[in-house]
Symmetry: C2
Subunit: 148 residues, 2 copies
Amino acid sequence: MGVEIERKFLVKEELWNKVRPESGTRILQGYILSSPETVVRVRVHGEKGRITIKGKTQGVSRSEFEYAIPKADAEEMLKEFCEAKIIKVRYELKIDRFVWEVDEFESPKKGLILAEIELTNENEEFAHPEWLGKEVSHLPEYYNVNMI
Amino acid sequence: MGVEIERKFLVKEELWNKVRPESGTRILQGYILSSPETVVRVRVHGEKGRITIKGKTQGVSRSEFEYAIPKADAEEMLKEFCEAKIIKVRYELKIDRFVWEVDEFESPKKGLILAEIELTNENEEFAHPEWLGKEVSHLPEYYNVNMI
């Protein structure tokens, strides 16, 4: 388990296109159950399955418990428990000591691109690449759970 | 993952007391989230942690996905996500090829004793020990999730 400290940004597509890595990983995810405080997410991430329990967001921090599970289980749970799903392709880009995760959404918000960086504390500084747009860490409409 | 086929009975305490195994295992469990169709349960079972996702009960069957997790994670999740908890002591008693799980509740329904048997199909036959009382498989008030 741990506490997830994350900041999230929109992405300037034209500039991002110049640096986008060649290959990304397809993510299919859904929510088994969610409340305003808690979400239980299931994900197929490439060839891996994963289940994640996230607590309430406080500032940019959030408690998170994540476990690897068989891919077949994740697929079954997506089918049985999740009417709506998110499909996105994740690219990872290392800049300095940080790995940016950039998600290009296919469904439901086709065309949306979001970049996330995980920090070790809320005030940690990091370089802002030129393709980074407006910060949306605090905007609920950009929480994945609210997209579906 | 799998489908859980379970039948559940009340227990006649005096007769049960004569056969109760010497030692049981303490279970502390709570529900991270639940809906009429789905529950996400976290449990500390002796020295083990476990997370379980259960689908809708259909007859005596129910889809179930269960994963071992670190005990410390389970304890943290119980603290963070579960206001109400169930505490019970589980005894296991083998009769023929079946293992009966008999739960003696400490909280919230102190004094309640329930016996469960897991079957491989809905019509499988099994011996009814003399300490077995009324079947409650279909009574929602005996679902653990409804006790808290």
